[in-house]
Each structure stands twice: as structure tokens, then as C-alpha cells.
């Protein structure tokens, strides 16, 4: 699956370099923000491990052998971002040191195997393993399936990249300038090998390693288990509790227009004008144990009511016609202001950089 130089057009290479560099940038940013010191040797040595494991000949059912990518176990132990970096490092080493995979296609190879491979592996593993105990057989199966799908997703991406070349890049006579086969040939050709060999090799190594770690060193599986957090895992991903909080905030934001369903005035939230309105007066009387409100609004209330005029009166900015949208906008504005204050407070609170 290591695409050599010459198979992809320069413009395809440039686009895929762009995607990969963006992913690397995010990874490095995340690492810098957290415990960079401890993570640097961990990812480096893990890349070396992935590189060595790629050289293992793995016996496959049927008597043949295959090589694994090592991206799935990296995604399980380090989380997706750490896996993107460690797999990319191994691929860069292969290209620059052993000439395996091209230089112009390095971006494409990293995009397919490191970026797509890591996220597919991580997503499948988390989805299938769910909250199963660390030592459950389900995790072994989940790792195997994740490995199989990750290798095939990476191969599919490579197949698409190779398959679009003849449609896009031809000379005047119609001869393809780069990889010569269209999508309908390129995708099946590359997938056959991965559905039968490379995918199985990745599945075996991922499942085998998870089974081994379950008995030898289960702590390494906690990072992406969704069950408990280790400092190492926390350093590479945002904590699960925080993520849940974000999901809840988003759900509540969407549900804010439900507030319009409530009719009448909340007790004690009256405006001075409500005291002169016959309809609201009867409402106030009914909710105040039949006690009539005063005929005019109390003078103190009248004075204080004009001190501050809200920018969005009654949760509806003046420029918004739909009350539901007004509610939603107001909620977003409110949450945004809270977040800004929280970020500002966090910035003030940040002392000198902590060394782990």
C-alpha cells in the first residue's frame, strides 16, 4: 500500500500533503498543549516498535504470510492522535531511510495509513468494545475487526487516489500520465489483496496484541477503553467527562425553543406594565392565592425597571422574527459568553508550564 513516486500526479500529491500536514499540525498542537515531555519519547519509541513489527512475517490462514501496519494497536494504546504521529513517523522513516514509498507520495501514504487508518481503527474499536471490561473477549474481537477495517479503509483510500489519475491526467493522445487504471479496476485490484491478506495480518496482530496485553499489562489498554483514564491517555485526548458535558450543552441548546411552549408569566417575573393589563392581572391573582395585585406597579419597581435595558429583551433580538430562532440565538450567545469567561479565567489561572 506504500504508493511509490510516479504513481500520483503532483497536484494529487500536493492536496494529500496538505491534508496530512494539517493533521500533523493538530497532533503537534495537542501534544504541546498537554504533557509534551513524556509523550515525545513514548511516541518516538512506539514508532520504532511499529517499524520493527511491520517487518514481522505473519502466518495467515491458508499457509501464506503477510505484514501488518501496526496502526491499530497504536490507536488502541496511544489514542488516535498519538497513532497518527507514531505511524507517520514510521512511514517517514521507511520512505527517507529505506526508500519504501515515495517522497512526493509521502503525504498520500501518511494520509491513507496514518490518518485514515488511525481514526477508522480507533472509531471501530471504541464502537465495538463499548464499555466492556478490560479483560473481556469482546475487546480482542473489536481490535481484530478494527484492524481489518482500518487496513481496508486505508487501501480503499489508496485505490481511490490511484483510480482517479487516468480520468484527470492524460496526454493529447489519451494515454494516462500516471497510474493507468480507472477506479473500477484500481479499487478491486488493491482491495483484493487487503481483504484477503493485509487486512487479516493487521487483524491478527491487533487482536493478538490486545489479548497479550489483557494478561500481561492491562494498564496499556485503559487509555482508549472508555472505562478509566490514565495520565498517558488523558494527555492525548480530552477527558470523556468533558466530552459528555459538551454533548449535553449542545442538546440543551437545541432544545431551548421548547421554552416557548410554556404559557403565562412566571410568578414574580412581572413587568411594571403587567399591573395595568387586565389579563395578566387575573393571572397574577389566580397564582397568588386570589390576592389582588396593587392597581399600579409599586414605585420602587417602576424606578428600578428602567435602570438596565437588556440587549435581547424576552430572549428575542429585535432583528429576529421567529421566536424559536430568537431563543436558540440567545442560548448560543449566553453559552458563548460563559465559555469566554471560563477561558479568560483559565488563562489568568495558568501558572508557569508544568513539567510532568
Amino acid at each position: 500500500m506504500h504508493i511509490p513516486d510516479g504513481y500520483l500526479s503532483p497536484s494529487t500529491c500536493a492536496v494529500l500533503y496538505g491534508g496530512t500536514i494539517a493533521a500533523w499540525y493538530v497532533c503537534l498542537k495537542r501534544l504541546k498543549r498537554v504533557l509534551l515531555t513524556r509523550v515525545v519519547p513514548l511516541i518516538s519509541v512506539f514508532a520504532a516498535f511499529a517499524f520493527v513489527v511491520m517487518m514481522f512475517n505473519l502466518p495467515l490462514p491458508g499457509g501464506t504470510t503477510g505484514h501488518a501496519l501496526g496502526v491499530t494497536i497504536a490507536a488502541i494504546v496511544l489514542g488516535p492522535w498519538g497513532a497518527v504521529l507514531s505511524t507517520s513517523l514510521a512511514l517517514v522513516l521507511q520512505a527517507l531511510f529505506f526508500g519504501d514509498g515515495g517522497i512526493t507520495t509521502l503525504g498520500a501514504n501518511c494520509f491513507n495509513m496514518a490518518v485514515i487508518g488511525s481514526f477508522v481503527a480507533y472509531g471501530c474499536y471504541r464502537l465495538l468494545a463499548a464499555r466492556a471490561p478490560l479483560d473481556s473477549q469482546r475487546r480482542v474481537v473489536a481490535a481484530g475487526v478494527a484492524g481489518y477495517l482500518a487496513a481496508n479503509a486505508a487501501a480503499l483510500a489508496a485505490g481511490i487516489e490511484l483510480g482517479i489519475q487516468p480520468a484527470l491526467f492524460r496526454d493529447a493522445s489519451g494515454a494516462p500520465l500516471y497510474a493507468p487504471y480507472p477506479l473500477k479496476i484500481a479499487i478491486p485490484a488493491i482491495l483484493i489483496g487487503h481483504l484477503t491478506f493485509a487486512g487479516i495480518a493487521e487483524a491478527i496482530i491487533a487482536a493478538g496484541l490486545v489479548a497479550y496485553l489483557q494478561s500481561a499489562d492491562p494498564a496499556l489498554l485503559t487509555a482508549t477503553s472508555g472505562v478509566a483514564q490514565t495520565p498517558m491517555a488523558g494527555s492525548l485526548r480530552s477527558p470523556v467527562t468533558l466530552r459528555r458535558l459538551w454533548a449535553t450543552v449542545a442538546l440543551l441548546l437545541i432544545l431551548t425553543p421548547v421554552g416557548i411552549l410554556a404559557t403565562g408569566k412566571a410568578w414574580g417575573e412581572w413587568a411594571p406594565s403587567d399591573f395595568a393589563n387586565a389579563q395578566t392581572r387575573s393571572g397574577i391573582t389566580a397564582t397568588s392565592r386570589q390576592q389582588e395585585p396593587p392597581v399600579t406597579a409599586p414605585t420602587g419597581m417602576q424606578r428600578m425597571a428602567t435602570i438596565w435595558t437588556a440587549p435581547f429583551p424576552a430572549y428575542a433580538p429585535a432583528f429576529v422574527k421567529s421566536p424559536a430562532l430568537g431563543y436558540l440565538l440567545s442560548a448560543m450567545f449566553g453559552v458563548g459568553v460563559c465559555l469566554l469567561i471560563a477561558l479568560f479565567a483559565k488563562g489568568l489561572n495558568r501558572g508557569p508550564e508544568q513539567v510532568s
Partner: protein
């Protein structure tokens, strides 16, 4: 069969080590590429590889391939190494991929009775030449430049220092882990009696990989503590003691001019 499996893995592992050794030996010999600043080499080869990827004409690609050959031979890379390790390997791999294109590419038949199309022949030759030229160029860079110098060039060419540092560390520990893996396979093999079944073989390889992984992670903790005890606080400092000399600039200019001319003629 298990011995075959282990020996082929051992062969892979030792090939990686011998490759590194050959590269160190060639990099130490006097030669055209060896005399250049690593930045000039990395930039120059990168520009030429881009030219190889851009040009559309077989004659211009042949010219670039000839240029790559001159560069390789002028840098003390033996022709035998080039033929055996580069050209034949590429031909075997890309040839298999390019061959069906002769028949599958739609276009005008070469002769009335032939299944091969003119477009198919053109695309197959382009693909093989392109890959041969690019791999010759990158092999020349890799074999004539020690890894430390490639890293230094990457650092000076504005690759983030954290990334360069991780590449350097990963490279260093590849050799240690390769040796560890080799020993584990050898010791396992020396204690084996009888034949292993497929399932047992898979179990053995996965277990070896597992032990290697826990060793790697322990190693990374030790490396971290060693770094910390030497004052590492998350900042990376690299020593940039290489200096571009006038002839490095001239060589970069020559490489760029060659690449630009090739792109111009090969459009």
C-alpha cells in the same frame, strides 16, 4: 515451516541493519553528493523528484534518469547495488502493475492484429521510467547522507523541531528494537521441538510483538527519565553546525535549473 517463518522474519530484520550499514559506508566515501551540505542535497533531490513527477515526455524522463544515474555513480554508489537493489526491484513491482495497462488502456492498436494499444505502451513506459528515475534519485540521497544529516537538513528547512527530534529518536531505537526482536525470535527458535501449527505460529508472533511492545514502552519511560535527569523540560535545542558554502548554492542552482528545463521540455 516455523523455522522458515522465523528465518524469513530474521532475514527482514537483518536486511534493515545491513541496509543501514551499507548506507553508512557509502556516505563516508568521497563523492559528488557526499561533498554537499545536507540542505543542498535534500532540496536538490526533492526538486528533481518533483520534475520527474511532472514531465510527460519519455525522452525528457530518460534525460532525468540519465542525470540520476550520473549523480549516483559520481557518489560512489556501485552500479551493482543500483541494478540489484533498485532497478530490478522496481521493475519487478511496477512492471507487474504496468503490464496489463498495455492491453487495458483504450486507444489505437499498434498494428491491426495487436492487442497492445499505442496509448497503453506509452503509459506503461512512462510509469516504469518515472518510478525508476524517482527511486534512483531518492536512493542516491539516502545512501549518501547519514541519517543525522538528513534530520539536520529537515530542521534547517523549517520542519518543526519536535517532529525532527521524534524522527531522530525513532530511528535510534529501531536498531535496538530490531536487535531485541531478533534475539527473541532466535531464543524462541532454539527452544522449539517439533512443528508448530498455524494457530500456534500466529500466537507466537503476536506474543513476541506484545513483549516487544511492553519493552518499548518501558524503554520510553526510561528514556524520558534519562532525558529529564539531563535537564529536559520540553524544549528542544538542535545544533546547526553545517554551513552552506558557495558550491552548495551553485549545486542547488544547477539542480533547480535542470529540473525547470526538464519541466519546460517535458510539458
Amino acid at each position: 515451516m516455523s523455522s522458515g517463518l522465523v528465518s524469513s522474519t530474521l532475514e527482514n530484520l537483518s536486511r534493515a541493519l545491513s541496509h543501514a550499514l551499507t548506507s553508512e559506508q557509502i556516505a563516508r566515501k568521497p563523492g559528488l553528493m557526499q561533498s554537499l551540505d545536507p540542505r543542498a542535497k535534500v532540496l536538490g533531490i526533492f526538486v528533481l523528484v518533483i520534475a520527474v513527477a511532472v514531465v510527460h515526455k519519455v525522452a525528457v524522463l530518460l534525460g532525468l534518469f540519465a542525470g540520476a544515474l550520473v549523480l549516483a555513480l559520481g557518489s560512489a554508489i556501485p552500479l551493482r547495488t543500483l541494478i540489484l537493489r533498485v532497478w530490478l526491484v522496481v521493475l519487478a513491482f511496477t512492471g507487474v502493475i504496468a503490464l496489463p495497462a498495455l492491453f487495458l488502456t483504450p486507444g489505437d492498436p499498434l498494428s491491426p492484429s495487436s492487442f497492445v494499444t499505442r496509448q497503453g505502451l506509452h503509459t506503461a513506459i512512462l510509469l516504469i521510467l518515472r518510478v525508476e528515475a524517482a527511486v534512483t534519485l531518492t536512493t542516491t540521497l539516502v545512501l549518501t547522507t547519514p541519517w543525522a544529516q538528513i534530520l539536520k537538513a529537515l530542521r534547517l528547512l523549517a520542519v518543526p523541531k519536535e517532529a525532527v527530534m521524534m524522527l531522530g529518536m525513532a530511528h535510534r531505537y529501531i536498531f535496538l528494537l530490531t536487535e531485541t526482536a531478533t534475539r527473541m525470535f532466535e531464543s524462541r527458535e532454539s527452544r522449539r521441538v517439533g512443528k508448530l501449527r498455524g494457530r500456534e505460529k500466529r500466537h507466537m508472533v503476536a506474543q513476541t510483538a506484545g513483549v516487544l511492545m511492553t519493552k518499548s514502552i518501558d524503554l520510553s519511560q526510561e528514556v524520558f527519565l534519562a532525558m529529564q535527569s539531563r535537564g529536559y523540560r520540553g524544549d528542544v535545542f538542535t545544533v546547526a553546525d553545517t554551513r552552506m558554502r558557495p558550491h552548495d548554492y551553485i549545486v542547488i542552482l544547477v539542480f533547480v535549473a535542470f529540473a525547470v528545463l526538464a519541466i519546460w521540455w517535458g510539458r
